[in-house]
Symmetry: C2
Subunit: 486 residues, 2 copies
């Protein structure tokens, strides 16, 4: 428009807060590399395979079969249309009672039936994204901080911080003890914050972990609950991967820990669960975010906030029918775990055959792959260089550890549940070829490649907070695309 | 729990910010009166008739017929299931391209085809509630203020202020000139804010107006645009009632004004539209909120914020199919306007027969009813007393003007499109009987009633900001219920 508009500076500064290094980041180009050249088995067999998306695509057939048997669950079908008016017109922020019941029951099933969830405490939000933001809005004021074990989900930087003004303080976990959360690291992070006069309001746990794919054991959970309780901190447990546990040890929810006799001294009012169906049922498009709090005031406050991100009643109605079908749910959860276990085994065995190991994991839709041996040197610049080779030459879009605030270069998250068997095998073949080339000692070739990276005009600088998923979606792209890391 | 928890005070204070007089408000009891005794033609013919909900229930038959002809539009039907996986898995915050195209086309149709909307500027949000909050988050910082002509939609106090920390400054409109927005009142509100060192960021217009049901004429729109442009203020136009215009003059969108040659000097970057399908299509449960901005940076910022309140892709897919059916849309809009006009005429004629007049209106799902003559005296206490009689004795749940920040006691918003013909007639009969009693001069009876109100142990105090819709939903109610004012 060519107008001078001082007020627009405010908007641009808001955008900048969100984007930080944003679309100038080296990842953005990597992302474009995928967007411009996506793999297709027939149309583009040499394209980039997307292994950066934590999507659960292994069990759509089960859901589709259920739909065929239950057309009445859709209010937009001839069979279900009698409910259209009442459902389309329903906008109470408590949600459909049958939906809340179904969610509570599903949460019980995904936690092995060892704990009860009260439908009256189930609060809706717009996906886990909205749920995460809302719980922070409920618990904290701008400037307050939450501790979060790192590596952690990159979009926490947007979801938890952007509009709330809250800070995140990482609790650094290390490969030397398999990235476990130690009491020492928690204490250090908390005390450092105190020394800096930062008001710590709570701790956020992702269990099962994204990106590690591991579950927290009872001992660690109890120790963390004791710590937060002792310091009067909130404990927010993001359990959105609960049903992706495919191997022993079984998943332990914070809800179970709260019922343990040993923990009866703990203040339940400080404990909150974030849940979702995006991962466990593979339905990210449906935007089911849940806050389940043991604190009445938080339930009430979050419920009022849910007006900003209610779930479409069309979707509530459909899911209520499906998730209240106990036989379906039991079978779905068992079959989904079985398929994830098989896929995980097949993929990690393939990696092991070429000498690549992953952190041992029993959950999630991904592995935490150790490529430290392939780095030129132990720096994040090297990690970025390797990442560029993987995306541009090996043609796999994986996510570098730095995007998860991992403090050790050389770790990569690789997703394995967003593709079919054939694509997994092609990905494994590409890795095999790549590692073969690396190992064959074709030094001249390797040197040539190194030179090529250096000539690359892209800055390989590193910023720990720049890999927000929202940063990575080119606005101008005409085709729908997905963020790098989910 | 019995625990002392200092941190919980923060949550309680947040709740208090939202609730203000909240569940202790006299309205809460009125609301309970409806919830405990809802009208049903057979089961509870003497129950309270809900006339406080701006719902559009007159055209569900047209939508249902379309669904029967188009079962493929549902991904949860046998006919549409082939799209299930792709749609359920889609979570791009740009939304389905066909959905944005459909929304842009629908917005054009509801504005008489006199202006084009660019699908690339259509940004999703969680209902108008989420859209309103997001646009404020984009444009303002905590402490900043927006001017808003009063009477205005009560939930603005929550949607625009609660989590953003922004203030609303009313521009008072008066019955003496039919509640028109005068240049003088705008200037006064702006200058008073300046004097108080409040940073005014913009002006929010609701056109067509809720609660007035009137549309703004070109002259007023141009004058307001000139004012905001001159002071470098944002102009946010809430046009969620665009398609409820049922009589002349026709609706004029701010988008049309921007294209007027006379206004070419204006900075388009300062203009933004909020839209929704909750009122125009009667689909509040589907949570379709839209931000349409003429400012690229706002589009980009709002799009990133839409992650907190995306529309379910199940719903996007369904609406894309329906709203891209041009023949259906043209017929729906014409028929909906015709039915609203008939209902409005029938209802206002009924009121006129007993001497009750309304502000002349050509839009909306309600009338702005003038009951000043029925007040004991011209105070808000009297308005509350009359409101209590109307809900408890006449058994109609209408909304008092004070809840809309109206400065003159005696006005009430009465919704007429959330019920069938028979219920309207029963409501009219009750009003006729009530006014008859009032007029019959049965003074002893009237006196008796007055005493009864005074004995009532409920405080009838008045606060202009307490009628947030969220305040009015009893948390403990086992049945789904809706807020008092929408």
């Amino acid at each position: 428009m060519g107008f001078e508009c001082a007020k627009n500076n405010a908007i641009l500064s808001k955008l900048a807060t969100n984007e930080e290094h944003g679309e100038n980041s080296p990842y953005f180009d990597g992302w474009k590399a995928y967007d411009n050249d996506p793999f297709h088995p027939l149309k583009n067999p040499n394209g980039v395979i997307q292994m950066g998306l934590a999507e659960n695509q292994l069990c759509f057939d089960l859901i589709e079969e259920w739909i065929k048997r239950n057309p009445k669950a859709s209010i937009c079908s001839n069979e279900g249309i009698k409910s259209f008016k009442a459902i389309a017109n329903f906008q109470d922020y408590h949600g459909l009672p049958e939906f809340r019941r179904a969610i509570a029951k599903f949460m019980e099933k995904t936690r092995g039936g060892r704990v009860r969830f009260d439908p009256e405490r189930v609060v809706m939000a717009g996906g886990a994204t909205g749920a995460n933001e809302s719980i922070i809005f409920c618990l904290a004021d701008p400037g307050d901080a939450f501790l979060v074990p790192s590596p952690y989900y990159p979009a926490f930087n947007r979801d938890l911080r952007w509009r709330t003004g809250v800070q995140l303080i990482p609790i650094h976990c290390e490969s030397s003890n398999n990235f476990q959360i130690t009491a020492k690291a928690v204490k250090e992070a908390y005390e450092n914050a105190q020394k800096s006069n930062i008001k710590v309001k709570g701790l956020i746990l992702t269990n099962p972990s994204n990106p590690l794919g591991t579950t927290l054991d009872k001992h660690t959970l109890k120790s963390l609950l004791n710590f937060t309780n002792q310091h009067n901190l909130h404990l927010v447990c993001d359990e959105i991967y609960a049903a992706t546990v495919f191997d022993m040890p079984q998943f332990v929810s914070i809800a179970e820990i709260l019922e343990d006799n040993e923990m009866s001294h703990c203040n339940k009012d400080l404990v909150h669960i974030v849940y979702s169906l995006s991962k466990d049922m593979g339905l990210p498009g449906f935007r089911i975010g849940i806050i389940y709090s043991f604190n009445d005031a938080v339930v009430s406050c979050a419920r009022k906030m849910s007006s900003f991100g209610l779930v479409s009643t069309q979707t509530q109605h459909f899911l209520a029918a499906m998730l209240n079908d106990e036989k379906f749910v039991v079978n779905y959860l068992a079959e989904s775990a079985r398929r994830l276990a098989n896929r995980h085994k097949h993929f990690t065995n393939g990696l092991e055959e070429v000498g690549i190991t992953c952190l041992k994991n029993n959950a999630g839709l991904f592995c935490w792959m150790d490529l430290r041996k392939l780095l030129r040197d132990s720096t994040f610049d090297s990690e970025m260089s390797l990442w560029r080779v993987i995306i541009n030459d090996v043609k796999l879009n994986v996510s570098p550890g730095s995007s998860f605030d991992c403090q050790e270069p050389g770790w990569f998250r690789v997703c394995f549940a967003n593709m079919d068997d054939g694509t997994v095998d092609i990905a494994l073949a590409r890795i095999r070829r790549f590692v073969g080339v690396k190992k064959s000692g074709d030094e001249s070739n390797a040197m040539e490649k190194k030179q090529q990276w250096k000539k690359n005009n892209l800055r390989l600088s590193f910023s720990k907070r720049m890999y927000d998923e929202s940063v990575l979606s080119p606005l101008s792209s005409p085709i729908p695309h997905s963020p790098l890391v989910r």
